[in-house]
């Protein structure tokens, strides 16, 4: 068992179903878009869906061309609590402190996200992997657009 993952069934302290951080991001998701954005608001979009689980994830990024850093991020997701929280957390991680470079953002792993969320039950880890996939797709699309220009 990896260190970042714990099963809530193993703990006696269950104030909530998942960690307090997940709870916070689930009830107060950061950077989500209530409406689909207009084209000019962002530079690229990444979409993934988890067909069995039913989760669908869309992530938009805006990139600062001067330093290749992510300036703005937005997302929408159809998902359970860990899916929503993980995406919210990911959006914070890549845009906080002036934003990550595309190279740094590309390397973010689900385990880095779950760690920041205070762990996730093993059975729910799959719910947290959509965000980084959507992000990588968005970065790929961004690079494709750039080379096409």
């Amino acid at each position: 068992m990896k260190k970042y993952a714990y099963d809530v069934k193993d703990t006696n302290d269950r104030k909530w179903l998942y960690s307090e951080t997940i709870k916070d991001h689930f009830f107060n998701p950061r950077n989500f878009l209530a409406e689909e954005p207009k084209n000019e608001e962002f530079d690229a979009l990444g979409v993934v869906d988890h067909s069995m689980c039913g989760d669908v994830m869309k992530m938009w990024i805006k990139v600062d061309k001067k330093n290749n850093k992510i300036k703005k991020v937005g997302w929408k997701t159809f998902g359970c609590a860990p899916a929503i929280s993980a995406t919210s957390m990911l959006s914070v991680m890549i845009s906080e402190k002036g934003g990550m470079t595309l190279e740094e953002a590309y390397k973010i792993t689900p385990s880095a996200i779950t760690k920041r969320m205070g762990g996730l039950p093993l059975r729910k880890v799959h719910c947290s992997v959509l965000g980084d996939q959507a992000l990588r797709k968005a970065i790929d699309n961004y690079k494709k657009n750039q080379s096409a220009d």
Partner: protein, 394 residues
């Protein structure tokens, strides 16, 4: 003004104070083993005999036709595994079993086990309201059929199956048949609201449990028609006419007895009250929340069951948002294992995967008031709006 609203009575019910009161002596002073011959043993035995008489009455049955078990899943396992094993055909094909694709997992997993043991199982598809017809059952019967199992009232969508009509068709087929087909129904959800008379249902095996009836958890009963052979699944004693070994859970059995008696006494009035509330709740949801659809049959359903899909949002998210408002309800969406599948029951209705993930079940009960429903409606509207704003699915 946060409230506590419990709308998950299909999951389990709170214990009725009268049930608890009847049970307490058997957890305190009347702790004897019903097999013992001294005084406190005889007291326990008397309680057991009286409970069996009362439960038999609910099935319209004789006392020797009631087996007490450790709950609904055990009743179902004993009915299916016990009957199939005791009545296996000779040869490679041990027998054919007919059930539906919308059964509780207790039935489905018992059937899977029997398939591993060499039985053949037909899973009849329910229609888009969750119904299976007697004609479907008749058509699926072949010369090897030994057992049919159909859920009386579905645990997720509350759809009520035509059990009596299916039972009558099976009885017709059984006339002149060398090995008879036994008919089992999982009545765990139905027991509080529907007729359980074995002869009206033409059922040979009926599974019920106390924890859905305002009784204790961990106790159930199986009606077994006189003459039907069962192979035990628990060994170690002669209790329960040698069909279920183990020291009897007298407190639990007394609890089940009182819970059933109360349910029977209150059935008509409670059915009327809950049906009215259920229909109001559904009407308001559909009226005030766009793209909300009722899953299951609008009329042939349990008086306490409301199952709705809120297109574009995930069931677990809705349940947790409602939980934050003090409302307890559930979702059939089980995005919680290595295989992420929405509820097999909702999928069986032919609903898309994402809408199946959006199903939320509210099940009303004795303590539910109109105020509770108004409070829930208010929060539900907000929750659906908020989650739809986050959602990537239109």
């Amino acid at each position: 003004m946060k409230k506590e609203v419990y709308l998950d009575h299909a999951s389990t019910t709170p214990i009725d104070p009268l049930v608890l009161r009847a049970m307490l002596p058997y957890l305190k002073s009347h702790y004897g083993n019903a097999s013992a011959i001294y005084r406190i043993g005889r007291e326990a035995k008397n309680a057991l005999v009286s409970a069996r008489k009362s439960v038999a009455n609910v099935f319209g049955a004789r006392e020797n036709e009631v087996v007490f078990t450790g709950g609904g899943s055990e009743s179902i396992s004993l009915a299916l595994l016990g009957y199939a094993r005791a009545n296996a055909l000779k040869g490679e094909n041990k027998g054919h079993i007919i059930t539906t694709n919308a059964e509780h997992s207790a039935v489905l997993q018992a059937c899977e086990q029997l398939q591993k043991e060499g039985y053949k199982v037909t899973y009849l598809p329910v229609d888009n309201e969750g119904l299976v017809t007697p004609a479907q059952v008749v058509k699926a019967v072949n010369k090897n059929t030994i057992l049919v199992s159909v859920i009386y009232a579905n645990n997720e969508i509350g759809t009520i199956a035509p059990i009596g009509a299916i039972g009558r068709e099976i009885a017709k087929i059984n006339i002149g048949r060398a090995h008879k087909i036994a008919f089992h129904t999982d009545a765990c959800q139905a027991a509080g609201y529907l007729n359980l008379h074995a002869n009206d249902l033409k059922a040979d095996l009926i599974s019920i449990n106390a924890s859905k009836l305002y009784g204790p958890k961990g106790v159930g009963a199986l009606y077994v028609r006189d003459g039907k052979k069962l192979q035990p699944i628990i060994f170690g004693g002669m209790q329960e006419m040698s069909k279920r070994a183990g020291t009897e859970n007298i407190a639990g059995i007394v609890g089940l007895k009182v819970a059933l008696e109360l349910a029977l006494k209150r059935r008509l009035a409670e059915t009327k009250r809950l049906t009215k509330m259920r229909d109001y709740f559904v009407e308001q949801i559909v009226k005030t929340i766009p793209s909300a659809r009722l899953n299951g049959h609008p009329l042939k359903r349990l008086p306490n069951n409301v199952n709705v899909s809120f297109s574009g949002i995930e069931g677990e998210s809705a349940v947790l948002y409602l939980d934050a408002a003090g409302i307890a309800c559930s979702t059939g969406s089980a995005c919680n294992s290595t295989v992420q599948k929405p509820s097999h029951v909702i999928l069986a209705l032919g609903i898309s995967k994402s809408d199946a993930h959006s199903a939320v079940r509210f099940t009303l009960g004795r303590g539910t008031t109109m105020k509770d429903l108004e409070y829930t409606l208010l929060h539900l509207q907000e929750v659906v709006m908020k989650l739809r704003a986050i959602s990537a699915v239109k």
